[in-house]
Symmetry: none
Subunit: 136 residues, 4 copies
């Protein structure tokens, strides 16, 4: 029997105000955590009810995120055990794969910067600053 790690529900965050749907915020966060190896195949996810309570959102919303990730093969539903990270979910992804998850966002930034007639230098400087900040 492998020892079951249980992902704490309070690792997830949600921004109710923005335009991005809550279920999608949850999906993307979980996907990133899997990709980064912060959670491994076989690890258990907090129950729908638990997450819903911790985040103050509707349980159906959490359930939707879980179900979509299951359909994507990222999660697995185990009878009586809730959801856990799927075995074939290739554990942590390579740096290149993870970088690719950022590509759409970066492409959009690049396009907007061009429309704002901003040269790469200041944009990159700002991004470097923000990344130092959140890591330091």
């Amino acid at each position: 029997m492998s020892e079951l790690r249980q992902l704490p529900a309070d690792l997830l965050h949600v921004n109710t105000g923005g335009h991005e749907p809550i279920y999608r915020q949850l999906m993307m966060q979980l996907q990133r955590m899997v990709a980064a190896g912060q959670v491994s195949p076989g690890d258990a996810l907090p129950s729908v009810r638990e997450v819903a309570l911790a985040l103050g959102v509707n349980p159906m919303t959490v359930s939707k995120a879980y179900s979509l990730l299951e359909a994507q093969g990222v999660l697995e539903r185990r009878r009586g055990m809730g959801m856990l990270v799927a075995a074939q979910s290739s554990a942590a992804s390579s740096q290149l794969e993870r970088l690719d998850m950022l590509r759409p966002g970066l492409e959009r930034i690049a396009q907007e910067a061009q429309q704002l007639e901003l040269s790469p230098a200041p944009v990159i400087a700002l991004l470097r600053n923000l990344m130092k900040g959140s890591q330091g």
Copy 2:
């Protein structure tokens, strides 16, 4: 000389496929054009009907974009004569102000990069690449 510049309608583009509402795409494009100084206070905007025809969308959709920009102080209504860029819309914004329009997007990128356990270097390299591409 009361020479009135008229923004050509075909400078606007719209992506019907995506999730972002058409009216919002128009709003953001116009806002960036004003900020970048590609269009100046007092310049006339193409008529609602003109834009609607050029983009193949419903006039009300264009009108919604215009109205919201007016409520935001970016545009001004000249009764019976169309819309124009508002006077107090501070002409072209400074580089710092324009950079600030990118900040939310960059903050999000930084947060996601952290969750993906990506170091600044590769992310910044990718962004630099994308920005070179759109400028070349």
Copy 3:
């Protein structure tokens, strides 16, 4: 031959920004000037072109105001002489009649004050202040 007074075009004002149509602003102003006796039956009005130029509005807008006042019997069109204040326009109105012109606006104020749960005292105090200001 009675001596013809000519109303100067710059007595009229117009607020392009608001919701009230320009032609209506002109109509109401002229009506108030007649009612107050600031202009008398037989007095000539500035030409459409003159007013349009002085106010920076479309001549058709001025013309519309004049025509509607003519239809109302306030103005008279005299061939080759432009518009003049109609003879039967009862010269200056009585105080009661003039007060009645303010009634709709005051009724609206009263209704809004009630919805705002404002008692009469402060509203009346503010109005008294504003009237002193514009008269002093």
Copy 4:
């Protein structure tokens, strides 16, 4: 106790006959109700469909009023759950703030009274009368 107050839809009224657009009538009514404290931050608004039904207008018209108030920071959207009065909407406004909402109208009255060469006394008397009427 998470007791949610729900604003009844029949508190809203609409005058189809006048010139003022329906959506704007709704906006102003709601704004005054918030300012007067008749409805508090966190209170739920009647659903778009409910109001539309009660008033016999198109749901889009109601939705427009709600959306504009949201853009103005008066209301907040709870995805899939309806609208509620925004938290930062400073609860009931002070008497001074509410009085300020009447200022533009009163300024206009004062200006018109001056053009009508009316002295403050009769105007104020009329207003006092009208306000008594709506309170009795």
